[in-house]
Structure formats: C-alpha cells, structure tokens
C-alpha cells in the first residue's frame, strides 16, 4: 500500500505546490533519520504554539522510570480553523508516537504519526466539531 502511495505522489507532480513543501527549517538536521522511535505515553501538556506545537508526554520505561519527552508537531492554526482546540488533547490522554529522535540526544522527537492508545489517529480520528469560519 505504501508503494501505491509513492506511485500516486509521483504521478501528481503536475500539482506540485507553488512553494516547496519543505519546512522552513531542516527537520533532518534537528532529528536523526537513523534513530526511529515509538513511544507510548501520557500527555502532560500540549504547547499550542508556532512555528510548531509540542506535545509533552510522560513515558514509563520497562524499569518503571518515567521520562518526560516532547514531540514536535505542526502549526496549530488550521486545527483551530477545523474545529479542534487545546481541549482536543487533554492532559492524561494516552498516545502512541512514531517518529524520530532528536540529533542532540535529548528526549525530544518529531512525531511522524500520532495515535491514541486505541489506534485512532490523533485529531483526525476525533469527531470534529462543526468547523469555524472555514466551512461555508
């Protein structure tokens, strides 16, 4: 299925964005492509900030020790337009983060995919409230 996705993306070259979709900063310089991670943790807070939002989670290791991680996500502006708010990810939520670890070795990561513990995709898997001004 992943191959199908890549083939489709290649075929849609004609619809390439006017501005390159690369982020304004080099994620591959901030996080290590050779250090994939998968974490399960409890949300302690969601920093609803720009240029990136940050999900803070407590991760309990096999040794019982709790380690605090912060996971880099996207700008929250359009989530708010789509009807999601800070309350969409309350502290105590259990989430699973697949992504990559920070190059500086800290307990920071970028979340390529974030789901709730039950497998529902974060944000999009929620019942979106009726959107704000964007929908007409």
């Amino acid at each position: 299925m992943r191959t199908k996705l890549l083939v489709m993306m290649a075929g849609l070259g004609l619809l390439g964005a006017a501005v390159p979709v690369w982020a304004h900063h080099a994620f591959a310089a901030e996080f290590d492509q050779n250090k994939p991670l998968k974490l399960k943790g409890t949300v302690t807070k969601w920093e609803v900030t720009n240029p990136h939002s940050w999900i803070h989670i407590d991760v309990k290791g096999d040794d019982g020790q709790v380690v605090a991680w912060m996971i880099e996500g996207g700008s929250p502006n359009n989530l708010y337009r789509l009807g999601f708010t800070k309350e969409s990810l309350p502290p105590g939520s259990e989430i699973v983060v697949e992504g990559y670890r920070a190059k500086d070795g800290s307990t920071r990561g970028v979340g390529k995919n974030v789901t709730f513990a039950d497998g529902r995709k974060l944000f999009l898997g929620l019942q979106a409230t009726e959107a704000g001004p964007e929908k007409k």
Partner: protein
C-alpha cells in the same frame, strides 16, 4: 531559493475561478465541490466602497493554491487546463489527500524526507484549507510560464553565495534561512506567493493606507496610498518599501528597496508591481510583475486568485516558541563532537 528565470508580459486573460471547498479531514468524509465560475463577460460586479470611496478589499482571505509557480515542462505553451482536466486535477487531489489520511505520509522510513510530522495530521495539507482553483497551469503567465534565465552575473553571484555557505549551513543562526530565524518569510510578499500552509491574509483599509497582514509569520505590509515617493534607495527593508495608488477599481502597489536576501536571494534591485482588484464578493484577482535587470534577463509576471475565508487570522507568534532553531544548532554541535571523538581527537 534558486530561480531560473524567464519573463512574460502580464496578460489579463479570462479567469475562470472554481472554488472547491474541502471539508473537515475525517478520513471517510466525502468532499463536495462547489463550482462557481467567475465571469469575465457578464455584467460587471461593482465592489462595495470604503468610507473614502475606494473599493473595499477588506476581510480575511487565502491565496492557497495547488498551481505551481512554473509550468511543468511537459505542458509546453499550454497556459490553461480544460474544464475536464481541471475536474480531473481536483479529483486526483482529493484522492491524494484521502490516501494520505488513510496511510499516513507517503515517504520511505529511514529517509530524511520521512523525518517530519504528517501535514495532514495537523490540518496543514493544502487541501485541508480552501483553495481557489482556476484553470491556470502555472502562476507565471504567458506562453513560457517559467522564470526567465538569470543574467550571467546573477548566476555567478548566486553560485558564489551558495559555495560560500556550503558546509556551513549549521555553523550558527546567521547561516540558517530567514524563515527558520523568524525574521522574514517570502510569502509575506510582495509578491504574495502562497505558503505551503497558513496561507492566509487580512486586508485592512484606512484613509490613505492599505495594510496586508500575512498570517505566517504575523507580518504586516503597510501600503500608503497618499502619493508619497519611495524612501531613499540606500534604505533596504525585508519586504521592501511599498507605495500604492488606485487606478479605477484596481489597487496598484509598487515596491522597491528590498534586501537582497528576501524574497529572491541575490536580487539586488528588485522591483515588484502588484495589482489587486475585487472581481466578485469572494474573489480578489491578484496580478504581479517582478523585475530586476541585474537578476533576470527580463521581467516575469504571475496571477492567482485570492479567495475569501472569513473568520480571523490566528496569531503566528514565531520567535517565542522557536525551539527548532536552537535544537537544530545543538544537534549540529553534538554531531560534530561525536565525529571529533570518532576521529580520536
């Protein structure tokens, strides 16, 4: 950003604007297209007026688009898609998003490209925001639809700058892109080229001024319309110096005094002319011409519809939470230390 260059004259061609509304990003939700052809031939719609008698361009708008700046090579001189091709493009775009929502990011694990959050997860896929579709094959107008060639001097200047920075991209903050430092971002304009996401604007008018605020990065261009001249050419500003005037129902904005670092690095005497005309309640026709004889062999022009979204801009306070800049530099220092250790120093 490196630009190969070519110029075309601004051709005010018939504009067919089809507005596709994309609904909330739940995977199963279907998208219902609302086709609303703007007219170039029917009775002319007249824009409401501000108290001082000028067309009212005010409101919250987006210039989000899927149209690339330059025309794909294989399309040659084809400046417009047919209605059937446009419908097909829209269908493919919906399918792409739906697949992304279902499968996640279409990148290979373990590659640099995979090291990113999923745009669609955060509602930042371009099709999760309103797009003012039109039939253009590129933002740049004319038979070529591409940037003009750079002059030989410009090519050398840009190549020299790239060579100088090569290997030093992570030395310190000054080596990082202006956007990564929250100093300036090209989409603020002029010209108002779309951002990959949050491509929203607010226009506010007062007596003798038009202000255009870009959501990302929360910068406002203030355009006086009182006939004043440009500031001294020895003063350079991140977004240049804009002066505007009205030609009938069109706001014409002339901008000079750009820094040579933004929006087109290497352009030392950039001159941008913009034309904004509200053609229907939900659409501003935006046209622009870019020239710099020291950069491109001829001027180049573009056009894109700006469509109303209402609501408000959300604050994009950039610097205050700009952890990535420090994280990136710290990561580089750690990588250097590890490399030095390996080398046995």
């Amino acid at each position: 950003m490196r630009f190969r260059c070519f110029a075309s004259t601004a051709a005010p061609a018939a504009l067919v604007v089809v507005v596709l509304l994309t609904s909330a990003p739940a995977a199963a939700q279907a998208v219902s297209p609302t086709a609303k052809p703007a007219t170039g031939t029917a009775k002319a719609w007249v824009a409401p007026r501000t108290p001082d008698g000028h067309p009212d361009l005010q409101g919250v708008w987006t210039n989000n688009t899927v149209t690339p700046l330059e025309r794909p090579k294989r399309l040659g001189a084809k400046e417009f898609y047919t209605d059937a091709e446009l419908a097909d493009n829209q269908r493919k775009e919906r399918e792409r998003l739906d697949l992304n929502l279902e499968e996640g990011r279409p990148t290979e694990p373990g590659t640099a490209a995979d090291v990113h959050y999923d745009f669609a997860q955060f509602g930042l896929d371009r099709s999760q925001a309103k797009i003012a579709w039109d039939r253009r094959t590129s933002l740049i107008v004319g038979p070529e639809g591409t940037l003009p060639p750079m002059t030989p001097e410009a090519r050398k200047r840009v190549a020299d700058a790239a060579a100088k920075n090569k290997g030093h991209e992570l030395d310190g903050p000054e080596n990082r892109p202006l956007g990564a430092r929250c100093i300036a971002r090209a989409n603020v304009g002029p010209p108002l080229l779309p951002a990959a996401y949050n491509s929203n604007l607010q226009i506010v008018q007062g007596a003798g001024y038009v202000a255009i605020e870009a959501e990302m990065i929360h910068d406002t261009r203030i355009i006086p319309t009182d006939g004043r001249p440009h500031i001294s050419s020895s003063i350079r500003q991140w977004y240049g110096d804009s002066v505007g005037h009205w030609e009938g129902d069109t706001l014409v904005v002339d901008t000079t005094n750009f820094s040579d670092l933004n929006p087109f690095p290497g352009a030392q005497n950039l001159h941008v002319i913009e034309r904004l005309r509200r053609v229907d309640p939900d659409t501003i026709l935006y046209q622009f011409t870019v020239e710099d004889p020291g950069m491109w062999t001829k001027p180049w022009s573009g056009e894109l519809p700006i469509t109303k979204i209402g609501g408000e801009l959300y604050e994009y306070a950039c610097h205050e939470a700009n952890y990535p800049l420090a994280n990136t530099l710290r990561g580089a220092r750690v990588a250097e230390a590890e490399a030095a250790k390996k080398a046995g120093k």
